[in-house]
Amino acid sequence: MFIIVGGWLAITKTTISSDMQQFLPAKSKSAPISNIDPLKVLNIINQANSGLFLFAIEGGTDKQRATASIQLRKKLLKDEKFVFVNNGKGTLAKKDRNILNQYRYLLTENADYSENSLVKALQVRYQELTSPLGAFFKSSINSDPTAEVRAILKQWQLGKEPTKLHSVWFSNNKDTALLVAGIKINGADINAQQRAVDIIKDNFSAINNNGLKLAISGTGVFAVQARTKIKSESQRISVIASIAVMLLMLFAFRSVWLVFLAAIPLLCAIISGVIVTQVIFGSIQGITLAFGLTLIGVALDYPVHIFSHIVKSENIKTSINNIWPTMRLGVITTSLGFLALTQTNFNGLAQLGVFAVAGLLTAAVVSRFVLADLILLRPVRIKEVVPAWVGWISQVSISFNVINVSLFTSVAGALIFMYPVNWESDLTKLSPISAEQVTLDTRLRKQLNADDLVNVLIVRASSSNAVLKKSEQLAASLEKMVNDKTIAGYRAPHHLLPSIETQKLRQQNLPNSDILNQRVNKAIQESNFRPGSFSAYIKDVEESKTLAPLDREKIQGTILDRQLASMLFRQKDEWFAVIRFIGVSESAVLEQQLNKLGDDDLAYINIKQVSQSAVDDFRNEALKLIAIGLLVIFITLIVSLRDSQRLMRVCFIVSMALVFDIIWLNILDQALSLFHLISLLLVLGLGLDYSLFYTRSVDTKSVRERTAYGMLVCFGSTALVFGMLATSSIPVLNAIGLTVFIGVSFNYILATFFSTKSIT
């Protein structure tokens, strides 16, 4: 029986690669249909999938691939981390078969013990017995004449089993052997996922004597790859960028000591950023650190401003005192921009905000109060004369008048009209996972007939049994939808494990052995079967009456348990069941019909829509916060500048740079995401710095030239770092690099053009 009906059971499909999942908020903003939060559910489903691995063995002959598949499965099963490894061979373990056999009359949904049904069943069994494949049906006929085991297996399976060759799963074209494995995991634990990938790879290379290739996929693999890729790429870029910036500074200030000193505020900024974030949040996400580091790289600008304004004729402290008000205003306004981020309820972004604010303030304070003393520790030969061409740059200027301002504004307006903003709603587009890896994943899922988890119905109740009961109550409505052809089918947890009540009801409905014996004997009389052929059946039915119903404890470690793990979740005191649909003709119709059920403990979720609208909600929230930040910055500028001319210049430079940055990104066909927005905050901060320094009223031409020199070094180092990031193939790094590079360039050009001139 088990040879004929392979226990193929569908595996769950992951929707969002968990690497980018960290950039989804924990709760959704938009009101859900019922009071079940779809995003919460999404997170739970994703977590449940985080331990699933799909792999493919390619190359060699088909026999070699099959042998490798069998050996790899054996090896992995020896490792206690792996809960299951399926390759089509022995899908149903002995434990599974025992449970299935023992509890068949409690698990089966449509058993009929009437005389009529027995007569019919015996007719069908007779046909099977005499058919060419009769030999394969024999062993189970005595004890299971109504073929309940087969009915249950049908009840359990959703998809079609993949093709088998040499008794293991293969792709249809037979060039790939396929396996599915699951590990014990608690949430999205990248380290555990990394270990699992390593174990799979190590075991495979130990058995691979024929040069076969192994490809692994799954959420865990995505997460591991994303982390490794972002880590190695940002490390590579930061090493190159650090060297480039160091050389630039060395060239600009001709002093190793100064270059060394310039690094101190930055180091302090990083340390304080990490500490403050950890104190406030208890931990710091790796990804926050990676992005945070790029954001507070600006801390390098503060010592640069100081170094370039030092002159021999005056005390260093006096020089610092002269530029401090400008620097201070720049730091405060930039910090206000990042402070806006901390107001979001989404952890990753809030952490980023705290990290940046703490880092920037520390860098400014260290530059202001510590750096002067440190410079004096060693005699520094200060280069007083700036190159002639810098002097020339400092003289470039466009007058800040109505004509020029309206010219720039109208060009910006026209361009915005021509290249409107294109928002990115698909989080997966930002994933650093290569297209090949995604293709592999799609291919493997298709070959393994894993279903698409797009349309789901969430059921909530207070216990595991209650949620199963609720799922059972829905069956009638769902069956109706199958009849309506709204859906081709559905898969609910009660198909796997009925509620205790249902099992007890089924026990009550079992006929007693005398009656059953009579019915069986009558059925036998109408058949060709020998009397007494089905005594095992009568005995099994009798024994089923007194079985304690199956519960989650009893099925531990069985295939039922593993299957339920992706359909039944516990969150604190609430239990959720996930009902999945196949062959949904139209999501909207399904949604409408499910909403008609009008139950607060039910929620229809279109997972793709949920994650997209979450991204949209989240971006809108970020936009709102940034707008508030801008307003606060504006007020701060009014209060501290008290100079309408300068205020207008600063606002004009900063806003134009931001607008042109966005326009340029649109021209480059970049769909704007959260990462572009965060980068725009940095552009804003840099723009404030540049414009405040360039609109400072200064007495002498030489001070103006020094400012110009410092500005050039600042711009040069920022452009270097972010220009390198822009070359990255990782979408997130590329987005940040490109936005800041373009933005800082506009900042620099506009601030230079619209600078105020020295009095003399």
Partner: protein, 195 residues
């Protein structure tokens, strides 16, 4: 001296044996070649099944068709109509109730083994037969018997031995003995030979 004698004796005995086996092997080879030459068969069959669980022996009758290299169909007409068609890796079944099922042979290794016995014999493909069975040949080109004993443990639990008897290039009787004592005997009568 004694040793030498022993060696000579051994050589003689060996030679004698290998001649006998050689003759058998030659015949076997020729039988397989003859079987392979037949590309198309239409035949009638009569089958008698003895099944412990059933009171009476079951008699079936119907038509068989084979097309080289891998198409085989068995249409039972008596006592009920039933169709069983294999082509390549596809198995199509239409049972007495008219229900149709399509399966992939490779997904059901024991069924595959069973089918390959027939296909392997009809195609004279010894290599294929040996993938699944221990193959033994007795008789001569004219009257021969080929017995197939499953290699796999899983298969042996169901089927003990398959015996095919033939005359020349025609198989006329196939007996399947199952592990539980049940058996089936199928008599085959060709209605038309094709090339």
């Amino acid at each position: 001296m004694k040793n030498k004698l022993k060696i000579i004796l051994c050589i003689i005995l060996n030679l004698a044996f290998s001649t006998i086996t050689y003759a058998g092997a030659q015949d076997f080879k020729l039988v397989l070649e003859n079987l392979a030459k037949v590309k198309h068969i239409n035949a009638e069959f009569e089958e008698t099944k003895s099944i412990n669980m059933l009171e009476n022996k079951i008699k079936l009758a119907g038509l068989l068709e084979y097309r080289a290299p891998d198409s085989l169909s068995k249409q039972t007409l008596q006592p009920t109509s039933e169709l069983f068609v294999v082509k390549g890796n596809d198995l199509h079944i239409k049972n007495a109730a008219g229900e149709e099922t399509d399966l992939l042979l490779t997904n059901y290794p024991v069924v595959e083994m069973f089918v390959e016995a027939y296909r392997g014999l009809l195609a004279g493909n010894l290599k294929k037969l040996r993938d699944y069975y221990e193959v033994q040949f007795t008789g001569n080109i004219k009257h021969w018997t080929i017995t197939l004993t499953p290699i796999e443990e899983e298969a042996l639990e169901l089927i003990s031995i398959i015996t095919a008897e033939g005359i020349g290039e025609n198989i006329h009787k196939v007996t399947v003995n199952e592990a539980n004592g049940d058996s089936s005997v199928m008599q085959i009568k060709n209605t038309q030979d094709g090339a």
